[in-house]
Amino acid sequence: MTAATLERNRTVGLSRTRRMPFGSKHASDWTLGIAAAAVVAFLYLPVVVLIIFSFNDNNLTTWPLAGFTWHWYQNAFANKELMIALGNSIYVASIATALCVVLGVPAGIALDRIDFPGKLLFRRLVLLPLVLPGIVTGLAMMIMFTKVLGLSLSLTTVILGHGTALVSVVATQVFARLQRFNRRMEEASADLGARPLQTFWMVTLPNIRSAILGSALLSFTLSFDEIPVTYFLTGRDNTLPMYIYSTLRRGITPEINAIGTVIVLASLVLIVLSIWLLSDRGEKSGK
């Protein structure tokens, strides 16, 4: 949210308080409120089910609950294949995130302030993975890697795929932050005799730092959970989502609920942190 939006929200909030004091709420407001609450409940229902049944002492996910157990967590963490997949996912997501930052930051800067031939095509290509299903990107890269470059599929090709599909996340956030950034500060720095690289390190970078960090966290979460691109680009090694995907073929075990709960809670923390960094407050703390 921009500062301007927040500012407007504040005034909007005021005028609404004046116009609609408590008590004069229309019946339709209540209907709307209940509908809104129902949709939020719908959004969180599966997450709650996942967490509850990860502690439920029953092989099946059935109601009523059978009692509390840590058993599924112990099983999950004792499962070698699963732990290897978890390690692979952390490895892939870390390097893919680094790639996204190394490529996404200059891409965001280029989109914001450099005019060059082919910029429109470049912009379209960078943003494409945001709207294009991963299966198309995954397929296209798989054909190139195996048939044209003669590479064999491995975690490295998965990393290249994730880096490509997720660079847009960092690029768009850096671009958005730069658009709101006061260019005068860079001009002032230049006027004071700083070289461009100095200006970048000392003025521009501190201003976009929280946007970079926030979008990096988001990229990490997305890469960690990625399925469609990974599906086509992975060789013998499984990432965690691919491992889960393949076990689901065989049927459901509460072990998946346990590792799923860990992933969901870890993702929630990273995402909330990321939203905070990408918001106004992140911007202020970044300065």
Binding site: L32, Y44, L60, T61, L103, P106, A171, Y245
Partner: protein
């Protein structure tokens, strides 16, 4: 070096990495995919060629055409479902919650699930809707059902439900952006002029939020079209979607050129939708003056 040259050198330094990367890992692969869609298959070989047979097969072969139409149907239902769920929620968040802090907190809590493991969120519906799942056992426990029902899982309903669930936060995000831009003074002016709530909504709020609905619909429709996880997890025997078919062409069916052609058709449809909604959005913005 004069200033202009130095600047150009800097710009080149910034541009080189991202441009080289997008060219090598996006432009070239998409071009190769396009080329493959014209190749022909002489089992078990794939022969470089230039012919439209793969595209024709998608539209002439009943087996594939059915999947194509089903995908459009499911994607439309999911899009409509997501709009119907997201709109009232977003409207409530934007117009009925007075404290900006509470509003942003609720908004954030609604869109957070968007980035939480997509696989696990789909998978949980499988555990909820299944024959031995949470819903069935709950209904039996509550005395509503005698026997577990097979009606909830492995059908198109389950797919639409799961995918709608996945895409509601996307929709909320785009509708929120549109509703938030509407000046409350416009709505108040309409009310001051004696226009009722419902007519104010239909004449002022709804038309001004159309760009947001369109943007959300475009993303939802496109990403639903390309999904193969929901059909795999909760879809039934009549649940194959385009992405499932593509997957099969690169797997067991071993017909890469056909798979590439289907992927290209999907990509073209999505690009057309995005371009069209972008235009409509820009036109909508002009309307606002």
């Amino acid at each position: 070096m004069d200033l202009d040259t130095r600047r150009r050198v800097n710009y080149a330094g910034v541009l080189a990495g991202p441009v080289a990367w997008t060219t090598l890992f996006m432009f070239v692969p998409y071009a190769i995919l396009l080329a493959y869609s014209f190749y022909s298959r002489e089992f078990p070989l794939i022969v470089p060629d230039f012919q439209l047979g793969n595209y024709l097969q998608l539209f002439q072969d009943q087996q594939y055409f059915q999947v194509f139409m089903r995908t459009l149907k499911i994607a439309s239902l999911v899009t409509v479902g997501a709009i119907l769920l997201a709109y009232p929620l977003t409207y409530f968040i934007v117009f009925k919650i007075r404290s900006p802090r509470v509003r942003m907190t609720i908004y954030a809590s609604v869109i957070v699930p968007l980035w939480v493991s997509y696989l696990l969120r789909s998978y949980t519906w499988k555990t909820i809707l299944g024959n031995q799942g949470v819903l069935n056992s709950f209904l039996i426990w509550a005395g509503i059902l005698d026997q577990p029902s097979d009606l909830f899982l492995y059908n198109q309903f389950a797919m639409v439900l799961t995918l709608t669930y996945i895409f509601v936060p996307f929709m909320v995000m785009s509708i929120f952006a549109a509703l938030e831009k509407i000046p409350v003074s416009l709505i108040e002016a309409s009310k001051d002029l004696g226009v009722g709530r419902i007519r104010t909504f239909l004449a002022v709020t709804l038309p001004l939020s159309v760009p947001g609905i369109l943007a959300g619909a475009a993303i939802t429709f496109g990403l639903t079209m390309g999904d193969f996880v929901a059909p795999f997890l909760v879809g039934g025997p009549d649940g194959a979607l385009l992405a499932t078919t593509i997957q099969a062409q690169f797997g067991t069916a071993l017909n890469w050129p056909l798979g590439a052609a289907i992927a290209m058709v999907m990509m073209v449809i999505i690009l057309l939708i995005i371009t069209a909604t972008d235009r409509a959005e820009r036109a909508g913005r002009l309307d606002l003056g």
